[in-house]
């Protein structure tokens, strides 16, 4: 007897069940959950049921978890079939594959298909889930696929992706499997993910970073925080456009942004449906003769995607159908996932929360991250990456709610305790890694010198020149000596950036460059941060270092910025803000002044003040008024004055040769030129410039960070002045004959400062640390180096020379600046 599908159109064979006294069980959907349920049911009660199995797909049950090996070519479809024709035949199941159930008639207890009706005593709905299609223009173009079943998989295989561009939208498990599979078939794959890190439901940012790094090493490009705006193409998919304007070429687009329970047939039948088909603990729907299981159900407000709870449902439903008391109680499930060899493990709850503590272990050299979340001396969450060998041991402790207070000190090292090495990051660097950037000295050269007998820092400086110029790599050189000499070397303890790390600012800056760390999670992981999310001290510093070193790759993290830079206005002691529009070189017009006056009136500004930087400050503005006020000022042609930023503030000028009888050069024009060149840049601390038209120095240029004093023969450029807590005159670095050269030297100095200084060091603090002679050598004497600095500055400015006000003044942004709700207006009960 054959159990293969009855051809569509042929009337179903009348069941003998009524006569035999068997229960007529109809199952809609031959998926993994219903397949497992039938196994349990027919094993326990082989003769009690007469089963008819409908499946819209023209085949029986196969292991969907194994579709990615099929996609990558490692397995064939036949190898992942879990129930073949022989199994269905042996169980006496009537298979109606390729035949979709179109309707349930609850009153008559029948299901309808194109070929007629089939009666049931009990009905099981196992329709699974459907891929979620994001409603963007172009979603229906040929070449746009989802990734859910064998048809989708074959569509991707048939597209012949080798050498072509493929874009996967969605960086969850399915999306990453699709990406890995297509990459294995030779496609150039880009993954677009809406959230800040991959697999954010299973992983925290640190583990997400490691996963991203491993995928990128395998040639898969990952774009996080990317919102898809449209799929472009003429007659077929050609490219994917993101909200931020980025475009990726795409011969094939795979949407894998999530699934939604497939509930249409239940909804049409009038069953209770919320997100999924609502079932009770026995997996019964709102109709006592109809049951449901799998990804299509909702139980206690929860829907399911992982296989473990679905198998529990299968067991429960089999017992329910046999009229036994059974209760489905979802348990905390662990996810041990293998995404193309990326080893990760996640279980339980790893959100921050009341009374929770973290134990974090990072081994940067081996790319390992482990985090245990504890509550009341018990493990409630586990996230691991890179080495998941102890995952099940931790998961066991979690499930057992074991008290770990006695073993807490060594818990993170697993059943076999080991020890973390603070020198791991430096030890893991390859010999060719550059340690001293000034003199181009590699790790290998330094280690060689130490082994050759150079046992002191001075000796290393003499024989390799490492740490002999700006000195910012001193800490790293000492760590290398410590590594090479062991206990024979006692390095002076450097001050860590903050309580989160023992690395100094200088070490972190250098390691960001030499290890090419390009995100905050990357720095925290590779350099062994001791906290999970850093603190208010290190986060703004890291954000600056990363955007200064990787202007094109790193995306500014607004939430790691201090309030003034996040809100593009200076917070005042009462929580209001001050607004300072830019006045280039301190020059304004009557029209600008009118617009400022109008804004002051319109937004009830309590104080209008002239600043020391030659512009106007509107003080006491309410946060929710900021975007509208900026829009008004933008309309009058004004942009942010960045009066709040660790960046270019003002260029103060005197009137110069254009009007002044003593003026030697056009100091006003030069000031405007400099300000238009430099505005928008981020620097370690604020930067103020002054340009005076003659040595009378009316612009007070010689107490600024950079001061230019014009003389008959040219321009005197001096740096590192101060007029704050300390008062200090600038020091001359160059006298140049042309305005162009003055601009070039100034720009190069700012870039050198951006690349080397510690966060929150003004130039007058930084220059003595590296030495004025070194600065002069870098930006004045070495013309080639000066040009290279200017070039790097321009690359950065291609991103940052823009008005942040204009961005936030867009009408759709306004509501983000106001309270999200106003309960003082609601009627009290």
């Amino acid at each position: 007897m054959s159990a293969s599908a009855i051809p569509p159109g042929l009337a179903p064979v009348p069941s003998a069940a009524v006569q035999s006294g068997k229960t007529r069980l109809v199952v809609i959907g031959a998926g993994m959950a219903s397949g497992r349920m039938l196994e349990h049911l027919l094993e326990a009660a082989p003769d009690r049921f007469d089963v008819t199995l409908f499946n819209a797909e023209p085949r029986g049950n196969y292991n969907r978890l194994m579709l990615s090996p099929v996609l990558s070519g490692e397995k064939t479809y036949e190898e992942i079939v879990t129930h073949d024709d022989g199994w269905y035949a042996a169980q006496g199941i009537t298979c109606r594959f390729g035949e979709a159930v179109t309707r349930i008639d609850r009153a008559a207890r029948t299901v309808h298909t194109a070929s007629g009706e089939t009666p049931y005593d009990a009905l099981v709905i196992g329709t699974g889930s459907a891929p979620f299609i994001i409603p963007v223009p172009g979603k229906d173009l040929p070449g746009v696929v989802t990734y859910r079943d064998l048809e989708d998989t074959n569509a991707m295989i048939d597209a012949g992706v080798a050498g072509k561009n493929a874009v996967v939208i969605g960086g969850g498990l399915l999306g990453l499997e699709a990406a890995a599979g297509m990459a294995a078939r030779g496609a150039k794959v880009t993954v677009i993910h809406l959230m800040g890190h991959l697999m954010e439901r299973q992983l925290d940012p640190a583990a997400g970073y490691l996963l991203q790094r491993d995928l990128e090493r395998r040639g898969i490009k990952v774009h996080c925080k990317g919102a898809t705006k449209a799929i472009l193409g003429d007659g077929k998919a050609e490219a994917v456009l993101l909200e931020d304007g980025t475009t990726y070429p795409a011969d094939l687009v795979c949407m894998a942004v999530g699934i939604r329970p497939e509930t249409r047939i239940a909804t049409d039948a009038g069953l209770e449906v919320e997100r999924g088909i609502v079932v009770d603990d026995a997996l019964r729907t709102s109709d006592p003769h109809i049951f449901a299981l799998g990804e299509c159900v909702e139980h206690c407000g929860q829907v399911f995607g992982l296989v473990a709870p679905l198998y529990d449902q299968a067991k429960t439903l089999a017992r329910t159908l046999m009229k036994e008391d059974a209760v489905f109680a979802p348990v905390q499930t662990a996810t041990k996932l293998k995404v193309t060899g990326c080893d990760l493990f996640s279980a339980g709850d790893f959100a921050d929360g009341p009374d929770r503590e973290d134990i974090v272990f990072r081994d940067p050299g081996r790319g390992i991250y482990k985090r245990l979340v504890l509550k009341d001396d018990r493990i409630i969450g586990v996230v691991m990456y890179g080495d998941t060998a102890d995952g099940n041991w931790f998961y066991g402790l979690l499930k057992d709610a074991a008290d770990i207070s006695g073993t807490r000190d060594t818990l993170i090292f697993g059943p076999a305790a080991g020890k973390a090495d603070p020198l791991a990051a430096v030890a893991a660097l390859p010999p060719e890694a550059e340690i001293c950037g000034c003199n181009g000295v590699s790790k290998g050269a330094i280690v060689g010198a130490v082994q050759g007998g150079a046992c002191t820092l001075d000796a290393i400086r003499t024989c390799t020149k490492a740490s002999a110029s700006c000195g910012t790599c001193t800490g790293l050189v000492e760590q290398l000596m410590k590594l090479t000499l062991g206990d024979d070397f006692a390095a002076p303890a450097p001050a860590g950036m903050c309580k989160c790390t023992d690395h100094s600012h200088e070490d972190v800056r250098r390691l960001i460059k030499s290890m090419e760390l390009k995100s905050i999670p990357a720095v925290m992981q590779e350099l062994g941060w001791k906290t999970v999310g850093g603190c208010h001290s290190c986060r703004p510093a890291l954000n600056f270092y990363l955007l200064a070193d990787w202007p094109l790759e790193y995306q500014d993290d607004r939430q790691s910025r201090f309030v003034n830079e996040r809100n593009h206005a200076n917070i005042q002691k009462d929580g209001t803000y001050s607004v300072v529009p830019r006045m280039w070189g301190g020059v304004t017009t009557s029209a600008e002044l009118r617009a400022i006056a109008d804004a002051a009136d319109k937004y009830d500004v309590p104080m209008v003040k002239v600043t020391g930087g030659q512009r106007i400050d509107l003080l006491g503005v309410k946060k929710e008024d900021l975007p509208a006020m900026w829009a008004d000022l933008n309309d009058a042609g004004m942009v942010s004055g960045h009066a709040y930023s660790k960046g270019l503030r003002t260029v103060k000028t005197c009137v110069g040769s254009e009007f002044c009888r003593f003026g030697t050069q056009d100091s006003t024009g030069l000031g405007i030129r400099l300000e238009k060149l430099l505005w928008g840049t981020w620097t370690p601390h604020k930067v103020k410039l002054g340009v005076s038209g003659c040595p009378r120095n009316c612009a007070e240029a010689t107490c600024k960070d950079i001061g230019i004093v014009c003389v008959e023969s040219g321009f005197q450029v001096s740096v590192a002045g101060a007029a704050g807590m300390e008062v200090k005159a600038t020091e001359l670095i160059a006298t140049v004959p042309t305005e162009d050269e003055a601009v070039e030297v100034t720009t190069a100095f700012i870039q050198l400062y951006r690349e080397h200084a510690k966060y929150l060091d003004r130039p007058y603090k930084w220059v003595p640390k590296v030495g004025l002679d070194w600065v002069i050598a870098q930006v004045v004497d070495d013309v080639e180096n000066r040009r290279a600095l200017v070039q790097r500055f321009e690359i950065s400015q291609s991103v940052y020379r823009k008005d942040p006000w204009a961005e936030h003044a867009q009408p759709e942004e306004h509501k983000k600046w106001a309270p999200m709700a106003d309960l003082s207006l609601e009627a009290a009960e």
Binding site: D358, H536, P819, A821, L823
Partner: protein, 109 residues
């Protein structure tokens, strides 16, 4: 305890906060990197700084005016600083943020 809907979780930036205006003054509703939410009085006990504008790290927030650090679970200041800000019950259900409905009242206890 009853709760009132104040908006979508996605309205609050991760590692950030949004304000809710109430009869008791402004309440800051925070969202951590791992999508936990906390509701605290938006007023630092030190000099009245708006905690909603502080840097959020883990389940801590740092006041933007003078860097007092608060544990958002308890509202207590950390380290050498002494002070407690009021906290309110808040939770997330189906992507919506719900806050203690007693904040609707003019004289919340």
């Amino acid at each position: 305890m009853s709760f009132v809907d104040i908006g979508s979780l996605s309205d609050i930036p991760r590692q950030g906060a949004r304000l809710v205006r109430t009869h008791l003054g402004c309440v800051a509703v925070f969202r951590t990197a791992t999508d936990q939410v906390f509701a605290l009085e938006d007023r630092c006990p030190h000099k009245g700084g708006p905690l909603s504008e502080g840097i959020v790290h883990g389940d801590r927030v740092t006041c933007p005016l003078h860097n007092w650090v608060f544990d958002m679970n308890t509202g207590a200041a950390e380290g050498a600083d002494e002070g407690v800000v009021r906290t309110f019950a808040v939770r997330v259900e189906q992507g919506r943020v719900l806050i203690d409905a007693s904040l609707l009242s003019r004289s919340a206890a």
